[in-house]
Symmetry: C2
Subunit: 151 residues, 2 copies
């Protein structure tokens, strides 16, 4: 899952958008690093290896496009950089966003999947009438390697 080149091309076509090498490269770069969380600058640097003429503005414009197509997600780890990762919707189309464990010492980011929040979402609908469609969870702490806190 995650990235199907033909599917992406078909999607672009169906929207009347052009298939360009740059668009393929940006999505491929994000698909190639499902565990890393790349900044726009990192995506740009990665692509420049294969395609030195690409411009940073194009990377930003493509990211915008991919966000609108719901192919990628934006993550903000509050380290001053916005990051992006390939999206993962469930077969039924509902979001199955995974969450992030952020190490306060080394900055490493681990991902985990958990649907524990469904219980919480139900509770919220009952008490506030707010309909929850999506959620984002960030957990801050210390990874196994960094262990002892140094706050």
């Amino acid at each position: 899952m995650a990235f199907d080149r033909e599917e992406f091309i078909a999607l672009l076509k169906s929207k009347g958008l052009k298939i360009t090498n740059q668009r393929l490269l940006v999505l491929e770069t994000l698909a190639a690093c499902p565990d890393r969380h790349l900044t726009a600058e990192e995506i740009y640097e990665n692509i420049k290896a294969d395609c030195p003429e690409i411009g940073l503005a194009t990377v930003y414009r493509t990211i915008q496009l991919l966000l609108e197509l719901h192919l990628i997600d934006r993550i903000n780890l509050d380290d001053g950089f916005v990051r992006y990762e390939i999206g993962n919707e469930r077969e039924d189309g509902s979001k199955h966003r995974h969450h992030h464990l952020i190490c306060r010492k080394c900055g490493k980011v681990l991902s985990f999947q958990d649907d524990l929040l469904e219980e919480l979402e139900e509770k919220i609908v009952k008490t506030t009438g707010f309909q929850v469609m999506d959620h984002e969870v960030k957990l801050y702490g210390y990874c196994k390697e960094c262990g002892g806190r140094t706050d």
Copy 2:
């Protein structure tokens, strides 16, 4: 809780920091709107009513200071602005951060408190060895008033 002027003054003194009107005003402004989530610019505009000579840079510097003192929290609702709110630690000093419900239609932000995540945190320690110290949860959806989704 939330804001005690005398306590704040004592804290500044104990750190060798000076008590200035600007510092008091920034913290008072945040304490006065516990439910709103103000941007630096909004805090600045609010204070200018009482104290027109205050500079935006001072607001930013004071926010930085208050974050370091753990008196306020930073929230990022991904609307392009970073927001701040008065902190609320529990008596035992542990964090009791509340979470945010963000309406995709009107942009309203509701807060809620819930410790449901403690269960999840335990699970994470067991499976990954990651020690969770703090967490942040954002739930996106539609508030009671906006009801029907318009995605």
